[in-house]
C-alpha cells in the first residue's frame, strides 16, 4: 500500500441555529493514499463538498481532525494554515477559478511566487506544466480569452505546479460540455498514472466515476459504501 496522504479521523461538521442542527458530515473516517484517483460521490446535500473543504482546511470541523502528510491541519490557523495549504494541496474548482486580471502564465506562476520560488525556476516550471496540460503558446492569454476547458487546464496546471501532496477537485467538469470534460479528465488521469499525482474529486458526474479507481459514496453526511476498482 502506498503512503497515506490524508487521514480524516471521525470528522463531523454541524450547521445550525438553536435547536435545529444539520449534520453535513457525520463522523466520517477516511484515508487517502498516494497516487489514488478517488471520487467522493453522492447526490446534492450528501456532504461531498463539505468533506472536501474539511480535508483541505478550508472549513473547520465540529468534531474530529484531518491529518495531511502526517500533520493535523484542523489545529492550524491563519498564516500557518495558508502556508500549509499552499505547499501541500492543489485545488481545482467548478469554474471561474482563475484570477481574471492575470494571464494563464501568471495564474500558474502566482502560487510559486507565494512560495518564493526564484524567477528562473518559476519560468521553467510554469512552461513545463503548460506543456503537460497542452497549453503551450497560450501563456499570455487572460482567462476571458480561453475556452472553459482551457481555463480548467490552467487550473489543473496551477494546482500541480506547486508539487502538492494531493489535488482536490470540486466538480471540475460541472461547467464543461461532455467532450471538453472528458478530455480534461483524460488528461488528469494520465497525470495521475504517469506522475503519481493523487486526486480526490467531489462529483456526481458519471465521467469521473467511470475513471476513478476508488469511489466513496456519501449519503446524508456519512459514508454509505466504497468501491475499489
Amino acid at each position: 500500500m502506498n503512503k497515506e496522504v490524508i487521514f480524516i479521523d471521525q470528522m463531523s461538521k454541524e450547521y445550525g441555529h438553536l435547536d435545529i442542527i444539520v449534520k453535513a458530515v457525520d463522523n466520517i473516517s477516511l484515508k487517502i493514499h498516494e497516487g489514488e484517483f478517488t471520487a467522493l460521490v453522492g447526490p446534492s446535500g450528501s456532504g461531498k463538498t463539505t468533506l472536501l473543504n474539511l480535508m483541505s482546511g478550508l472549513d473547520t470541523p465540529s468534531h474530529g481532525r484531518t491529518f495531511l502528510a502526517g500533520k493535523s491541519i484542523s489545529d492550524m490557523k491563519g498564516n500557518d494554515l495558508s502556508d500549509y495549504r499552499r505547499d501541500h494541496i492543489g485545488f481545482i474548482f467548478q469554474s471561474y477559478n482563475l484570477i481574471p486580471v492575470l494571464t494563464a502564465f501568471e495564474n500558474i506562476e502566482y502560487i510559486l511566487l507565494l512560495q518564493k520560488i526564484p524567477i528562473s525556476e518559476r519560468r521553467e516550471r510554469v512552461f513545463s506544466i503548460l506543456k503537460d496540460v497542452g497549453l503551450e503558446g497560450k501563456e499570455h492569454r487572460r482567462p476571458t480569452e480561453l475556452s472553459g476547458g482551457q481555463q480548467q487546464r490552467v487550473a489543473v496546471a496551477r494546482a500541480m505546479v506547486s508539487r502538492p501532496d494531493i489535488i482536490l477537485a470540486d466538480e471540475p467538469t460541472a461547467n464543461l460540455d461532455s467532450h471538453t470534460g472528458s478530455a480534461l479528465l483524460d488528461m488528469m488521469k494520465e497525470l495521475n498514472e504517469k506522475k503519481k499525482i493523487t486526486f480526490v474529486f467531489s462529483t456526481h458526474d458519471q465521467m469521473i466515476m467511470d475513471r476513478a479507481k476508488r469511489l466513496v459514496f456519501l449519503k446524508d453526511g456519512r459514508i454509505d459504501r466504497e468501491e475499489i476498482r
Binding site: 483541505s56 478550508l58 499552499r86 485545488f91 484570477i99 507565494l114
Partner: protein, 407 residues
C-alpha cells in the same frame, strides 16, 4: 511584483467605476484647492479693500479716543509720535488726521457728519480718497476752504461742486462752537455707505484751527512695508508704538468684523474640507466594497490556494492607494488649472459688493499656496487609505469555504 500587478490591473478592471471614483475624489480635491485659493484671494481682497481705502494697515490714537470721540483727546506728543513711527523700519507711510463730530449745513438741509482734517499730499498716498472722486478736484494747498464730501451726503444736502457749505464743530476743552464756510471742492464715491453719507474731508490745518487743538491731531494712519506684516500685524511693533497713553491698533482691531470674517471663512473651509473628506472616504469605501463583493469568489480562491490574509489586506490598500494617486493627480491638475484661469481672468461677481462693512473694490484673484498642493492631496490620499482599511480587513477575513459557495 505580483501585488502591484494585481492591484493596478484590478483598478482598471471596471474602468467606468474607477473613472467615476477618480472623478469624485479628484474633483473634490480640485474644488478644495480652488476653494482655498479663492478664499485666500477673497481675504486678501478684503484686507486690501480695508487697508487701502481709508483705514490703513493700522492707526494710532490717544487711548479711549475711538470710544469717546472727544475732540480734546488728541495723540500725546502728536508730532513726535508721527516722526517716531515714520522712522520705524517697518513703516512705509504714515499720515496724520484730525477728527471731530460736526454739523454740515447747506441751504436745503443740515446733517451730522464726521470731519476729517488731512494733509492732502500724504493722504493721497495712504488712502483712496483722491481716486474715489467722481466730480471736482482733490484738496489743494492754495485753497484751505475746500471740502470733499461723499456722493450720498451731497445728494442729501442738495450740493454739488462749488456750492457753499457751513461746518460747525465744538472746540476742544472749551466746547465753544466754531463755524466755517467751505466750498465743495470735490465729491467722492467710496462705495461704502458710511463713508459716502457721513464723512467730509478738509485741510488738517483748518481742522486744527476749528477744533482749537494747535498742532496736535487725533489719528495717525500708517502702512507697513511688508505684506506679511499687513496680514499678521507684528504685536511687538504695536506694543512699542503704544506708549505715552497712546494706542497703536492694527486693522484687525479697527475693523474686527473683517478679521472675524476671515476666521469664519477659514472655519467654513475646515468644515467643508471635513465634509468633502467624509464624502471621499465613503466613496472610496463604497467602491472598494462593490469591488470586494464582486470578487468574493476570487478572494476565496486566492485564500484557498494559500494566499495569506495580509497579502489580500495589502492588495486592497494598494488598490485604494492607486485610486487615490490617480485622483490626486487629476485633482491637483484640475485645481491648479481652475485657480490659474480664475487668477488670470479675475472673479468680478463680487466687485463693488459691500461685505462685512467693507466694499470689495477689485476682482478677486485666487492665490496659489504650496500648502494647497501638499496638504490637501496628502490628506485625500491618507483619507482614502484609512477608508480602505475596513474593506481590506473584510477581504482578508473572507472564509474561503463560504465565499466559494457561489454557483
Amino acid at each position: 511584483m505580483m501585488i502591484g500587478k494585481l492591484g493596478f490591473r484590478n483598478i482598471l478592471r471596471n474602468k467606468r467605476r474607477t473613472i467615476i471614483t477618480c472623478l469624485i475624489m479628484g474633483l473634490g480635491l480640485a474644488s478644495l484647492i480652488f476653494a482655498d485659493a479663492f478664499l485666500k484671494g477673497l481675504n486678501e481682497n478684503m484686507i486690501n479693500s480695508v487697508t487701502n481705502s481709508f483705514i490703513g494697515d493700522g492707526q494710532i490714537h490717544r487711548k479711549d479716543f475711538l470710544k469717546t470721540r472727544e475732540t480734546e483727546k488728541t495723540i500725546n506728543d502728536s508730532v513726535y509720535t508721527l516722526n517716531r513711527i515714520l522712522a520705524n523700519p517697518k513703516i512705509s507711510l504714515a499720515a496724520p488726521r484730525s477728527i471731530a463730530s460736526a454739523m454740515i449745513a447747506s441751504p436745503t438741509d443740515i446733517l451730522p457728519v464726521a470731519i476729517f482734517g488731512i494733509i492732502p499730499e500724504q493722504e493721497e498716498k495712504i488712502s483712496s480718497i483722491k481716486n474715489s472722486l467722481i466730480s471736482g478736484t482733490y484738496l489743494t494747498e492754495d485753497n484751505q476752504n475746500q471740502i470733499l464730501i461723499g456722493e450720498k451726503l451731497a445728494k442729501f444736502l442738495g450740493s454739488s461742486v462749488g456750492d457753499k457749505i457751513v461746518v460747525t464743530t465744538a472746540q476742544a476743552k472749551s466746547g465753544v462752537l466754531s463755524q466755517e464756510l467751505f466750498r465743495v471742492g470735490g465729491i467722492f464715491k467710496m462705495k461704502n455707505k458710511e463713508m459716502d453719507t457721513s464723512i467730509a474731508f478738509i485741510h488738517l490745518k483748518k481742522a486744527q484751527e476749528m477744533m482749537a487743538i494747535g498742532l496736535s491731531f487725533h489719528e495717525i494712519v500708517f502702512k507697513f512695508k511688508n505684506k506679511s506684516d499687513v496680514v499678521d500685524p507684528p504685536k511687538d511693533f504695536l506694543s512699542i508704538m503704544s506708549i505715552n497713553d497712546n494706542e497703536a491698533l492694527s486693522w484687525k482691531k479697527l475693523v474686527p468684523a473683517i478679521d472675524a470674517g476671515i476666521q469664519l471663512t477659514a472655519y467654513s473651509l475646515t468644515i467643508g474640507s471635513f465634509i468633502l473628506f467624509a464624502i471621499i472616504a465613503l466613496s472610496t469605501m463604497n467602491t472598494l466594497f462593490m469591488s470586494l463583493y464582486e470578487r468574493m469568489y476570487e478572494f476565496g480562491i486566492m485564500k484557498a490556494i494559500g494566499t495569506r490574509p495580509v497579502f489580500i489586506f495589502r492588495l486592497i490598500l494598494l488598490e485604494a492607494a492607486s485610486l487615490a494617486l490617480l485622483s490626486t493627480i487629476l485633482g491637483t491638475i484640475v485645481g491648479a488649472a481652475v485657480t490659474l484661469v480664475t487668477r488670470l481672468v479675475g472673479i468680478n461677481h463680487l466687485t463693488d459688493v459691500e461685505y462685512l462693512g467693507t466694499t470689495i473694490k477689485t476682482a478677486i484673484r485666487p492665490i496659489f499656496m504650496p500648502s494647497q498642493y501638499i496638504y490637501y492631496p496628502l490628506a485625500i490620499f491618507i483619507f482614502a487609505i484609512i477608508s480602505a482599511i475596513y474593506p481590506a480587513i473584510t477581504a482578508a477575513r473572507i472564509i474561503p469555504s463560504k465565499s466559494l459557495k457561489r454557483d
